[in-house]
């Protein structure tokens, strides 16, 4: 069997159609969109079309989309940009304890420059509580930033209600939708979203391109200065091939959304039930139902995750873990720890993240391989009590 790629929350394979759409923009239509000649116009037209495709998948207006270098940059521009623009009004930001480092580190940076940040806890399924949000929010709160779904455990947050509570209290709502675009329907208007981060390479687009939705009228300051591209919010000559790729990826994701979700859900559920049925002492991490269609995250008792990843890699299966053995003391994922897992459960975690390009045959092969590997690693673990 060919190699199996089950690490689609880390990055995805670029779709052939996306690649094909991009290629002419490297060598044929390579103009700078700011130029006044035909090369510039070609680039500018391509950018306009892509902007509309990106806007379309989240039901926004094209004028509300700016292109960025990726999800991290979108998060930085959104959070720092709004915090800065509204600092006269208030200096309080609310986020969650299980955000991506792009959000957490940005918030920690803001704390150093005088902002107050509340990090909402999550329950054992990884869900933020609306009561906690209502308790934390106050007059000084200018921004609530909570991810749409978590990258490690796939728990989907109640963003529509979170946005509603933010608005009722005069705050703006930003959500990092890097993991959910193409895997959940998103409607920025119905979902009460003011700012939303998008990444290209998580939905079969290229790396190095992302977008930020900024609702019309949202106060925001630039954090990057230069030639004034993207309404002055992201100066830098536009990455036209990347933009074209992102647009195509969004168009494809939008057209096939229902079909893709059903397909991935089926594979996900087969993996979860197959593993649970065949391997004893495993635990599903995350929410059983409010869960991304492509996320499987399980803890295997008495096994360290990196060993599991290495053994899987040797059988051609690419996956990831919340365990990082890379210093004197191992590090367990901040997400799993925030959910109240024990350290040993966090070390024993495995994430299998799917895409529409995976198959049921790959699922079956992976369950077989896992069964063998887990039993081999347990046989050598001092923590595994043999029957």
């Amino acid at each position: 069997m060919d190699k199996i790629y089950f690490d689609n929350s880390a990055t995805t394979r670029v779709d052939e159609k996306v690649l094909k759409a991009m290629l002419p923009y490297f060598t044929e239509f390579y103009g700078n969109a700011s130029s006044l000649h035909s090369f510039g116009r070609d680039a500018s037209v391509a950018m306009k079309d892509s902007r509309a495709m990106v806007a379309n998948i989240i039901n926004a207006d094209a004028s509300e989309i700016i292109f960025t270098a990726g999800g991290t940059e979108s998060d930085n521009i959104a959070i720092r940009g709004v915090a800065e623009a509204l600092k006269e009004k208030g200096n309080h930001i609310i986020t969650s304890s299980i955000e991506h480092p792009a959000v957490l580190e940005t918030c920690e940076h803001l704390e150093k420059s005088g902002f107050d940040v509340s990090y909402l806890p999550v329950d054992d399924k990884g869900s933020v509580s609306l009561e906690d949000l209502e308790d934390a929010i106050c007059q000084r709160t200018t921004l609530v930033t909570i991810m749409h779904a978590n990258n490690e455990v796939g728990t989907i947050q109640p963003i529509r209600e979170i946005g509603r509570i933010a608005h009722e209290n005069g705050a703006l709502f930003h959500t990092d939708a890097v993991q959910t675009l193409g895997k959940l329907p998103i409607d920025v208007s119905k979902d009460n979203i003011d700012l939303l981060s998008i990444s290209g390479h998580k939905l079969h687009g290229p790396k190095g391109i992302g977008a930020l939705y900024i609702k019309d009228g949202t106060p925001i300051e630039p954090i990057i200065f230069g030639g004034g591209h993207e309404r002055g919010l992201r100066s830098s000559t536009e990455n036209i091939p990347g933009i074209v790729g992102l647009g195509k990826a969004c168009e494809m994701a939008k057209n096939d959304l229902d079909k893709d979700i059903a397909y991935m859900t089926n594979l996900r559920d087969a993996l979860i039930s197959g593993i649970t049925d065949r391997i004893p002492n495993v635990k599903l991490n995350g929410h059983p139902t409010d869960r991304l269609c492509n996320n499987v995250n399980m803890s295997f008792e008495a096994i360290e995750g990196e060993a599991l990843i290495l053994a899987l890699d040797r059988t051609g299966i690419a996956a990831s873990t919340g365990s990082a053995c890379s210093s004197k003391k191992s590090k367990a994922s901040h997400v799993l720890m925030a959910m109240g897992l024990t350290q040993i459960e966090a070390y024993g975690s495995l994430r299998l993240s799917l895409s529409r390009m995976n198959t049921m045959q790959e699922v079956d092969y992976t369950i077989d391989s896992l069964e063998n590997i887990v039993s081999r690693l347990r046989a050598m673990s001092p923590l595994w009590k043999e029957e």
Partner: protein, 126 residues
Amino acid sequence: MAYEFNEKVIKHFENPKNVGMMKDADIVETVGSPVCGDMLTLYLKIKDDKVVDVKFKTFGCGAAIATSSIFTELVKGKTIDDALKITSDVVVNELGGLPEKKIHCSVLAPDAFEKAIKKYRDRHAK
């Protein structure tokens, strides 16, 4: 960050030597803890100051398992004094090197052995 193990490390990870428990061990020593992310239990049989048999069980990453395996191979049949010379540096060299971030895994087995021998000698000094 991604890193690469050489073939010898992989070999010891996939087919570790001397894995398992030993019911009639003269000495059993456990180092590390599940909270630290790696843990090793070493079983030793000692006769006439020689390591006549050795077994291990390791909870940890691939490097922790591979270093445990090669360590048991290296000490088996040696006198205690010679076996005590198998330091983590020796383990890393014998494996043909480890990625920088994984060097710390190589101290687990020599540490367990040293503690086991201390326990053994204390007991026999009485």
